[in-house]
Every structure is written in C-alpha cells, then in structure tokens.
C-alpha cells in the first residue's frame, strides 16, 4: 500500500525497540516513524512514550491515554501509550508523604518532599513504568512490536542489577539503603525488575537504537552510551544519524559549512560506533507532525523542499533581540554573578565566554569560571582581553577527587558489596553536580565586587538539599569574616541584583521543554531565571539555502513560546558552524547576521 521504507531500521525483527539519545536529537520523531512503518507493514504495534518531554499528542494530533493503548487514527494496527514519569514520581511522593502530612512537622514534610523531587526519583519512576511492559507478557499481549521513545540509563540499570541494592530493602535493613530508595516505595517485585533487565539484554528480544546528531560531541556521547550499555550486555545496538545536511543546492556559506562539518565528524566516527548498523536521516525542513510527515521521513527522501527559490524570500522577521542587548542590561549593575545554565550540549560554555569577553571588552573587571574540558577558551581568549581573568574547573577532576574522598572516608570500612553499592551511588548525576558546585563556591563570593561569569549552575534540587542539610550555613559561618555582604549564598543566588541566572536552550521543542523544567526546579528554590538565551538559531544567522531557511521559519514557534510563556527577557544567538574561538569570533555571537530582519516589538 505504501512505498517500501528505505531505512534498514525497518528490518528490525525484535519485539522491543528502544530509542535513546540526548533531548532534542529526534528520538520521539524516529520512534513514531518506526512505529508507523512497522504498522504499515502489517504488524500490530504499541508505541510507548515515557519521556517527560514527549509530545506524542502533538505528533499524532490525538489525545493519548496513560493506561489504555490509544488507537492512532490513519494508521491501522498502531496504538500508543503516554506514560508520564513526572506524574508517576508525583504519585509516589503523594503516597509516601500523604499519610504523614499534618502528623509530622511542616518543615519535616517539606524536607521529605525535596528529597523525593530529584531527577533520580523521576528516572526510577520512569523505569518502573517500563518494567510492567517489558516483564509482564499480559501487559503487551497482542502486540508484535513495542516501540519505546526512551531507554533507561546505564546508571539505573547498574543500580538494579546490583544484588546488594535489594538486600538492603528485603533483608534486615540495618545498614541503610541506597539511591534505590525511591524504588522501594514503588512496590514492584524484584523478579519483575530482573525480567525487565533480562529482556533488555536479550538481543533476540530487544534492539536499542542510539540516536545522534552527526556532530563530533554528540557522536562522542553516543559512543559512551553505547559502551556503557554494551557492558551491561545490551549489545543489539544500531545507530541512527539524524539531521544530516544534504548536498546544498546553492552556495549559502552556512549550508556548505554545515555539510563539511557533518562530513568531517562522520569521517572521524568513534570506534565504538563504527561496527553498528547505521541509518542516515537527512535534515528535515519542518518539525515532524502528522502521519504523512512521519511516513515521508523513513522514505529517506532527499529533501522535502519542492521549490527552493521561494522560501529564501521569506526569512522570518525575528521577534527578539540579540545577546548584545542583554549584556547592556547586565553591565548596568557594574558587578554581579552571571550564571549560564542549561542541559548539556546547548552551548553554555561558549555563551558564558561571549558574555565575559564583551563585558571585559567594555572595561569591566570580569572573572570567567569555566568547566570547558578542552580549555580551548583558555588558550584562545587568554591575553587578548585586558580585564578578563579565566579560571578553570575540570568537572572530571573535581568529581574524581570527590569520589575518591568519599571512598576513602565512607567506604573504608565497608565490605565489597557495600563498596560496590557506594561506588554506584557515586556515579549518579548528582555527584558531579555537587562536586563541581563545591569547586565553584569560591568564585561565587567574588560577585560582590566584579563580574563573575560561570558556565554552569546548580539545579534547584541541589540547592534545596544543600540548604536543608545546613552545609550552606556552615559555609557562611566560615566565610562571613571575610567581609562579604550577603547573608547566605542561597540568598545571594535568589537576589537578581546580585545573581542573574541565564537559562540556555535551543529553538526546538524538547530542549525548550527541558529548559522549562530547569526553570520550575529553580523556582522551587526561590530563584527566578533572569533571562532565557535561545542558542544556535538559524533564523538569527540568515541562511539563504532553502532547506535551512525553512528550518529557520519553523524555529519561530518555539522562540515565540519562550517569549510569551517562559521568559522575562529573551535573547537569540545565531548558529555558529564551528565552535567560535578568540574574542572576535565570540563577539559575533552577540549580533544577528546582516541579512536578518528584526520584527518591531511594541512594548
């Protein structure tokens, strides 16, 4: 009935298909497209989303239920489920805390709530949702394929496979338990988790699709994930390279550069990925919504642009200002802490450097504190700008130092099982955040005198935990003698006159949703992000290539959403082909390309 899909992804025979990758790489789109293609081939397919940022509804224009598979209109044999781990985590929190509300003191209840609001609780809750579908044949009876648009992380799987993780709960419970705490309350049987982990590792039952952008850093991360999962015996892996720039149809330098960048990244493909079967999916002109668009995706069409010439005439007017305007406002205060935060890969480090270089270039004393692992900012900007001092924090070194400190102190009396447990706890994402933030706290205190620009910030969850445990308080007592003017670091972070939180995102659906979640998390800690920066915008770089111009146009929806619903201030940063180095290239991020049009905004 439909043309044969050309992607080898469609030859997958396993019952389960998992799509994994960073937010915004197109997991949901590919999972949806794969599910549609399998259903078109006559299989009964269940599509499952457990991604908090999932937009299955949006993709299929249908409300999708959380309990009963919803039939997708227009695709025979396709059903979808939308599991929300945030909601599962919320339900769990309510179940634990509900009975003691009003019985235990209010402050105690609040502290408990915070403990159960971390990313770990959500992740475990998400896995809990998977297990029923993976381990219980009844739950998916009648479906030939079950397609998931997310996959559990190595950290979660390792925790689950540690026998010690369970004995803590199931046996005497004398020695305290672990990160698995949240799991205990989810009341699932150990057998069920084991069955789920086994199903994942069974290559005849499960295929894992690593989704990546065809870029160096993204591929490096996909390679790490691949190795981590292979160690857990999840070896039936494939790679899907999403968003490849097709051969440009005109001589737009942006398009040519993009093409070159993709080619060079693929030429240097990491070893771990080389052996995997690969599918290449070209950059699409529009966001994928609706069944026809999904079908088209896997037909691997060259490009869906029909009339190239027209679209270039319609480069969208940009409704927001460039980063330069934001720096003007930051500079007014004469000093302060500027924290550039966001999910990994959105460009925090580069933007922090651009802001610092500009502030220093205007004659302000600036301390740029960066986690840039390559330290290339150090070498390229150093000495170029008079008022700029750069200090580096290496997250790996800090985390390693913190880990070994804990293993030496806490771990020294533990038996081998206990040590294994502790080591796994130390691999949780919180560990790195805490270790890095500890290293940052020195720099923070300088914000009262000059500008301190940092390319990372703690999440609200970490801040609340730090605050609750009193670590902060002790910290102040120690440093108050140095004549700092703020009461507590937490208060300093909450005061926009002293600290400006800049939330970085990309002009795409999932990254915007992820940034919104970070914002909510900061708000719980009483911190209001001062501005949003939307990075890597094609609209701001004025492409003439029709495909890129079409993409630029499709960015407007998310830019508008951020402006209207999320941010107090918004700045847009043009897309840069290569990571900008040197103060001149960094400064270019502060402006739009010449051929862009600013939309008049009436205030």
């Amino acid at each position: 009935m439909f043309p044969e899909p050309t992607l080898s992804l469609m030859d997958v025979q396993t019952r389960h298909l998992f799509f994994t990758g960073k937010g915004g790489v197109g997991k949901t789109s590919l999972a949806c497209a794969a599910a549609v293609a399998l259903a078109d081939a006559g299989k009964r397919v269940l599509l499952v989303s457990t991604d908090p940022a999932s937009n299955l509804q949006h993709v299929f224009y249908t409300d999708i239920d959380e309990k009963t598979p919803t039939a997708i209109e227009g695709v025979e044999n396709l059903y979808a489920l939308n599991l929300d781990p945030e909601e599962a985590a919320g339900t769990y929190r309510d179940r634990v805390i509900g009975p003691v509300r009003g019985v235990l003191p209010e402050a105690t209840v609040r502290e408990m709530e915070e403990q159960l609001s971390g990313a770990c609780t959500t992740e475990i809750a998400a896995f809990d949702e998977f297990t029923a579908l993976l381990a219980d044949p009844q739950a998916t009876a009648g479906f030939e394929h079950v397609v998931f648009d997310t996959a559990p992380t190595g950290h979660t799987l390792r925790l689950l496979s540690l026998p010690n993780a369970w004995t803590g709960f199931l046996d005497t419970n004398t020695s305290g338990t672990s990160c698995l705490g949240p799991l205990a309350g989810l009341e699932k049987q150990r057998q069920q988790y084991k069955a789920a982990v086994d199903a994942l590792a069974d290559g005849a039952a499960t295929t894992l699709v690593l989704v990546s952008r065809p870029q160096r850093s993204a591929l490096a991360e996909a390679a790490r994930t691949s190795e981590e999962l292979a160690e857990l015996k999840i070896r039936n892996q494939r790679l899907a390279l999403n968003g490849l720039m097709p051969e440009p149809r005109c001589d737009d330098p942006l398009a040519l550069a993009l093409r070159r960048r993709d080619e060079s990244a693929l030429a240097d493909m990491p070893e771990a990925l080389k052996a995997l079967p690969v599918d290449r999916i070209p950059l699409q002109p529009h966001n994928l919504v609706g069944v026809p668009a999904l079908r088209a995706l896997l037909m691997n069409m060259e490009s869906a642009i029909d009339e190239p010439a027209e679209i270039t005439e319609y480069l969208p007017p940009i409704p927001t200002g460039p980063l330069y305007d934001l720096v003007d406002e930051i500079e007014k205060d004469g000093h302060g802490l500027v924290m550039v935060m966001g999910k990994g890969g959105v460009g925090k480090t580069t933007l922090a450097a651009a802001i610092a270089v500009e502030l220093a270039g205007r004659g302000n004393e600036v301390n740029l504190t960066t986690t840039d692992p390559a330290a290339h900012l150090d070498s390229t900007v150093h000495g170029e700008v008079d008022m700029l001092k750069i200090s580096r924090i290496d997250p790996q070194v800090e985390t390693e130092r913190y880990r070994s400190h804990i293993m030496e102190t806490k771990g020294k009396d533990l038996d081998s099982k206990g040590r294994a447990m502790l080591e796994e706890d130390l691999r949780s994402p919180c560990t790195e955040e805490i270790a890095v933030f500890k290293a940052f706290s020195k720099a923070i205190r300088e914000g009262g005198r000059k500008f301190v620009v940092m390319d990372t910030a703690p999440t609200g969850h970490t801040l609340l935990l730090l605050d609750a445990t009193g670590a902060y308080h002790r910290d102040i007592v120690r440093h108050v003698k140095e004549g700092t003017r703020f009461a507590t670091p937490m208060m300093q972070l909450q005061d926009p006159a002293q600290t400006k939180m800049l939330l970085v995102t990309l002009p795409e659906t999932t990254p915007v949703l992820e940034a919104a979640a970070l914002q909510e998390d900061l708000r719980r800690a009483g911190i209001e992000p001062w501005a949003w920066i939307i990075n890597a915008s094609l609209a701001a770089s004025g492409p003439t290539d029709p495909l890129l111009a079409a993409r630029a146009l499709s960015e407007l929806e998310q830019i508008g959403k951020v402006q209207r619903e999320m941010a107090h201030r918004t700045a847009l940063v043009p897309w840069a082909v290569e990571e900008p180095t040197g103060s001149e290239n960094l400064r270019q991020l502060l402006f739009f390309a010449n051929n862009t049009i600013r939309q008049e905004v009436h205030t």
């Binding site: 990160c179 919180c430 560990t431 445990t469």
Partner: protein, 104 residues
Amino acid sequence: MKLEVFDPPMCCSSGVCEPDVDPALTQFAADLEGLNRRGVEVCRYNLAHEPMAFARNTTVRDELQADEGCLPLVLLNGKIVSKCAYPSGEFLASVIAEETEHVS
C-alpha cells in the same frame, strides 16, 4: 533488646548524594551490624521512605514536634537514648549494658 534508628530523610542513605558526607554514618552502620550479630534487634527507618514509622511512634512524633532538628534519633526499647547525631559504638554498647542490667 530492640534498637530503633530514625534517620533524617536521605535520598540515598549512603548520604553520598548530599554535599556533606557524615563519616560517622558508615561507622554507625558497621556498629549496628555488630550489635545485630550479638542478638540486638535493630530496625532502621529513613524519613524519606518510611515516614509512617515516624508518625506511628508517639515518642518520635512528639520529639519531632518539639525539635525538628532531633534526627537522627536512636531509641532503645522505646526510649530515646540519642538525638541530633549518630552515637559512637562505645556509647551504644554502654547504654545497652545499662539496659541489660536494668532489665535483669
């Protein structure tokens, strides 16, 4: 002989998720294991996971109402023997010895 420990809420009870790791925690866990081997019944509750254990125990509930900072609380045969910090192994041994004498 029953020893009950009421821990403050900890996202992971190894405490490593938290900024300050209390070295006393590990030693304390080891001490409890030792006591358990010598026949003392040991029960440990984490506020983040088993709040009902806190709410049901009137001694613990009253102490929390009076002093929110009282955790960790250690109860021996239902009576508070230590609060606000993890006691040492010697301390535990001595209160258990006392209690044994008292009971006999």
